[in-house]
């Protein structure tokens, strides 16, 4: 691994604010979403991104309009970091027609092709070939757009990981594969699934520039992603980034996560990515406590109004659904 030099210039206040807003918005979305789930308003599966906010936040802040992302089953954070409308996300979780997928997709399938969000995915590892495909489409169009696929330690053990990263490598695609190494595949610890636990080394084996970063440090993730984007645009892609992190709870809302050691959880909670984003905005960005409080209040209100909007929305009717099904 070669670690690129930290960006020479200190991050601007605008960037730090953007990063804090995103990380905090994800935190609110997941925390409040879990409450809605417990009230029975959200059904099906809900895989919280709590504890991993630093990765989606840092990565997406380094991307531009026209780029693509492909996400995972734990995808709310990626959507929010990509700039998704919280109203339409909540509406999707509440099965409403005003949701991103009209309630046809749900938590694991939120996508918005019109802005390059290729979608969350219910199949672990499946976003990797899809992302490489988007990068290939961009190359064929002659565009310098970059595609990021978020995958995980779990996803990196799927066969498509090697097949698609290798294709991206031989074709020099503008593709960045971000392994969110949260150290668990559902409940299976990484020590049980992998002998070499530094997963970035898998990229080196197939000739891909590969890096490791503290996934709980959104600024570091941002800086590294920016370097990765530059490498891609200089024709040196694809790039692999392993971001180490830890979930704050079990695999999904109904998994108490009792298998997660308390001391390890405490270690990562002490390095909470949202707290670090807030501290960075305060210390490096020179923001005042009132500014932070105002941002937090604004985001909380945005979520509340998204819930109101969603509750007031209608569902697709069975008649309209049957019409949709014609010709399938």
């Amino acid at each position: 691994m070669s670690t690129p030099a930290r960006t020479a210039n200190a991050p601007s206040k605008a960037l730090l604010e953007k990063i804090f807003r995103t990380a905090y918005k994800i935190r609110v979305f997941e925390t409040e979403g879990i409450k809605l789930y417990r009230q029975g308003l959200i059904r099906g599966y809900f895989h919280p991104y709590l504890g991993q906010e630093g990765i989606a936040t840092g990565v997406c802040a380094a991307l531009s309009e026209g780029d693509y992302i492909a996400s995972t089953h734990r995808g709310h954070g990626h959507c929010i970091a990509w700039g998704a409308d919280v109203k339409r996300m909540v509406a999707e979780l509440l099965q409403k027609e005003t949701g991103y997928c009209k309630g046809y997709g749900g938590s694991m399938h939120i996508a918005d092709i019109s802005v390059g969000n290729l979608g969350a995915n219910g199949i672990v590892g499946a976003g990797t070939p899809l992302g490489v495909g988007a990068a290939l489409a961009a190359q064929i169009r002659g565009s310098d757009a970059v595609t990021v696929t978020f995958t995980s330690d779990g996803g990196s053990n799927n066969g498509t990981f090697l097949e698609s990263l290798n294709l991206a490598a031989i074709w020099n695609l503008n593709f960045i594969l971000v392994i969110e190494n949260n150290q668990y595949a559902v409940s299976t610890r990484i020590e049980e699934s992998t002998r070499e636990q530094d997963l970035y080394k898998r990229g080196i084996a197939i000739g891909v520039p590969s890096f490791q970063v503290d996934g709980n440090d959104p600024i570091a993730v941002h800086d590294l992603t920016r370097e990765a984007v530059e490498l891609c645009r200089a024709g040196k892609g694809p790039v692999l980034i392993e971001a180490k992190t830890f979930r704050h709870m079990g695999h999904h809302v109904n998994d108490p996560g009792k298998y997660m050691p308390e001391d390890q959880l405490a270690y990562y909670k002490a390095r909470d990515p949202v707290d670090r984003a807030r501290a960075a905005l305060l210390d490096m960005g020179g923001a005042k406590a009132q500014e932070i409080a105002a941002i937090e209040a604004e985001i909380a209100a945005e979520f509340e109004s998204a819930v109101e909007f969603s509750k007031a929305s209608s569902e697709v009717t069975p008649e309209a659904f049957r019409e949709f099904a014609v010709g399938y």
């Binding site: 046809y104 092709i113 070939p129 899809l130 949709f324 010709g327």
Partner: protein
């Protein structure tokens, strides 16, 4: 319209060539398809004409290349992924079944996947159990996929051109025995919409329904039946999804007798589904039970005599047609 006689593989190449010239986002990837021109020479010359950006060889990574094709389609390109044998497509089934087929619904209709997998199946030539299957029923079963099985050069060209202009994932299933067959193909723009069956031979006594390589077998059977005074109508659905039920039902309503011929093994096959459609719609018009001629429910053996015994032959079709016509005396069981 002026016509030319060309081979099935040349017709496929013309379709790809014309659509690549027309739309710069059409590209093709597969094993040995660039410099080598493909195992069946379908892509010969395309590398020289369109360059290595749009005509690419891949490593042996079916799940990866099918997935990359699906992703490129989602992102607005028009990929053709060539898989050497339909048997090998099994390595990419997650990408076909869970990704390509589901995407449109999961996105509430906003996301479309104009992805084409071209591959070939079928028995013949002693290529044994892992290179001989007819797997259309697997794809037919999955909502969201289009299943296309052309039997002639003209259909191959017209359907592939249509496939490259529509918006859904297409399983374009060719047959290894058809590549060198010849047929007339219209000059100029030639496009065949999905969901339009073709009456390959009009007749009045019995309806024979067949697709892919079973069409030539069934047409040969129809000629033999004609010599016996039986006038068979042969219908080729051409696309199994969408299925042109109307043309099939109109024909059976007229002849009151139907035989469905598929190379695939019988259990859970497309023929069984077409049979159920006919009996549900036309039960009281039928003069005989609908008959299915299909492969044996067993993997295809290498030995060429046994291989032949495991898939339908002309005489099986002739016998089935005579049976539904009650053309032969009934043999009573001995006491």
């Amino acid at each position: 319209m002026a016509m030319r006689e060309i081979m099935y593989r040349d017709a496929l190449r013309e379709a790809i060539d014309e659509e690549m010239a027309r739309n710069p986002t059409v590209f093709i990837i597969g094993e040995g398809i660039a410099e080598r021109g493909g195992s069946y020479k379908v892509t010969e010359g395309l590398l020289a004409k369109y360059g290595p950006k749009r005509v690419r060889d891949t490593p042996i990574a079916e799940a990866g290349m099918i997935g990359v094709g699906v992703g490129a389609a989602i992102a607005g390109a028009r990929p053709i992924v060539e898989i050497l044998y339909v048997d090998f497509a099994m390595l990419g089934m997650d990408m076909i079944v869970n990704q390509a087929a589901k995407f449109r619904l999961m996105t509430g209709g906003n996301g479309r996947v104009p992805f084409i997998m071209r591959t070939q199946g079928g028995a013949g030539g002693g290529v044994a159990a892992q290179h001989s299957q007819s797997l259309e029923a697997l794809f037919y079963h999955i909502p969201g996929l289009r299943v296309v099985m052309p039997s002639t050069p003209s259909d191959a060209k017209g359907l592939l051109k249509y496939a490259l202009r529509q918006e859904d994932p297409v399983m374009f299933l060719e047959h290894k025995h058809l590549y060198m067959t010849k047929g007339l193909v219209p000059d100029g723009e030639h496009i065949i919409e999905f969901g339009k069956a073709d009456i390959k031979r009009p007749g009045k006594d019995v309806t024979l329904i067949a697709w892919s390589n079973m069409v030539p077998t069934t047409l040969a059977a129809a000629e033999e039946l004609a010599a016996q005074g039986i006038d068979a109508e042969v219908i080729d659905p051409r696309t199994l999804v969408p299925l042109d039920k109307k043309t099939i039902l109109d024909s059976v309503a007229k002849t009151k007798r139907a035989v469905i011929v598929q190379e695939a093994n019988r259990r859970g096959g497309v023929a069984s589904d077409i049979c159920s459609i006919i009996q549900e719609e036309l039960f009281y018009d039928l003069d005989a039970p609908v008959s299915i001629v299909a492969g044996l429910d067993i993997p295809i053996p290498f030995n060429l005599t046994l291989e032949k015994a495991s898939v339908p032959q002309k005489q099986d079709v002739v016998a089935a047609a005579r049976r539904v016509l009650h053309a032969d005396p009934i043999e009573l069981a001995a006491e």
